[in-house]
Symmetry: C2
Subunit: 289 residues, 2 copies
Amino acid sequence: MSFSKALTDAAARVQGRLDAALADREDLPVVHAMRYAVQGGKRLRGFLVLESARLHGIAPEAAVSAAASIEALHAYSLVHDDMPCMDDDDLRRGLPTVHRKWDECTAVLAGDALQTLAFELLADPALGPAAVRIELVASLAKASGAEGMVLGQALDIAAETAAVPLTLDQITHLQAGKTGALIRWSAEAGAILGQADRVPLRRYATALGLAFQIADDILDVEGDAEKAGKRLQKDAEAGKATFVSLLGLDGAKARARALVEDAEAALAPYGPEAGTLIEAARFVISRES
Amino acid sequence: MSFSKALTDAAARVQGRLDAALADREDLPVVHAMRYAVQGGKRLRGFLVLESARLHGIAPEAAVSAAASIEALHAYSLVHDDMPCMDDDDLRRGLPTVHRKWDECTAVLAGDALQTLAFELLADPALGPAAVRIELVASLAKASGAEGMVLGQALDIAAETAAVPLTLDQITHLQAGKTGALIRWSAEAGAILGQADRVPLRRYATALGLAFQIADDILDVEGDAEKAGKRLQKDAEAGKATFVSLLGLDGAKARARALVEDAEAALAPYGPEAGTLIEAARFVISRES
């Protein structure tokens, strides 16, 4: 199966699981906002879960709740990140952000409930033995809390008011949390589900996550706001250090390409079955949104 | 052991577990705010976990991570609830709220990370077999998400702009989510840990949770703001329906007493061992904060 077909399939499966989880709820703005916030997006994280599961012989039906979980968690982080006190964004994926379409209160609550939903989905018995599911919970908590994603967000906010721009090491540490931690969890989830060695997928995902963020920084400079569906050139306006400001545009591109090569090399133990994950890494540095 | 001694002991154990969980983190405002937000409070929910565990022969060391989990979750809900877009409170337990001491951004992130911490704590192997821990995760997610606590918060917000005040049935439904769901989870946690019948503790906690909220409404009218450590008479100012506005002050007190009797009756199967939980129910309707 080609990467683009696998990505489309993963997106449809993840959406179906999220729709089912959010069906039959009370008719309230917070529930509408939750459904709205989990629409669309590339579903790269959900795809990584389903593909890494496939590498370990796990059928999509037995992994989809983990894929939906990471997309619910990612959606919560975007809803809160877009709020006025955080990034203050009006648009997300070309549509009004939750606090613009509803209000801040609904954005806080919908984000909170989406985080809860992420953990609820990991308790789904379809994911396998309780030991596997509790390991998914423990690792997602590490990846998303104040030692993972939230740590990265907090470092990002601290950087905005810092007297001197961040160094390359500091930005790498920040991004390993802010975007890297969820990407790593997604790719490792298949090994957790398959109760297999996580090291190859961790190496793949660490390289992929960093390449993803470098590509984001390049997109922020070179991208088309319409295709991206969000405001661009924010970092330059804010005078923030990025991989582009530190490495230059050509240097950043070269670094991203080297990381994609490392991601590919990490998957060697899986042979040709890992083709779609390799394509995913190439896609990440060539995307327009 | 007396109730007040058991409550003090529970508070110390819970604080120790939360302190350990938040040790060795990076030196950032979000981490300071998390530590600040989990200080103090009566720890009633943590006490319910430890006492219901004791009724099932579970030692405090084997239950404390669940007690700390519910207190971390409760703390997250307070940090977000106090924000300007929600209840807009400056004081909590007599101290500045997180968004007043730091800023809104830190309050959003600290609340988010405290919710994550709650689920991380439930993965602690000290709580027993993986099947028990994943059941704690599943039930906490149900209790705290858009079908539990967040549902109650959303109904509460909807009530503020509703054309007509809520009925008694509607307020009871709202409170079963807003405050009841976490109290029920806390009391049932011991039965989950002990892999025992949850029905007696569920009946106890359902009555206790409602009595707790009626007492809160009475406190809002009759209480001393200094002892309570927070602003009072908010509901009357906002013209909101409460148990007091619907039942009258005497009617609300009579209802709370009847609920405490029902809570006591529910614990009959446990005999005298349940004495501290019975005292807890009596305390809930006589407290001053």
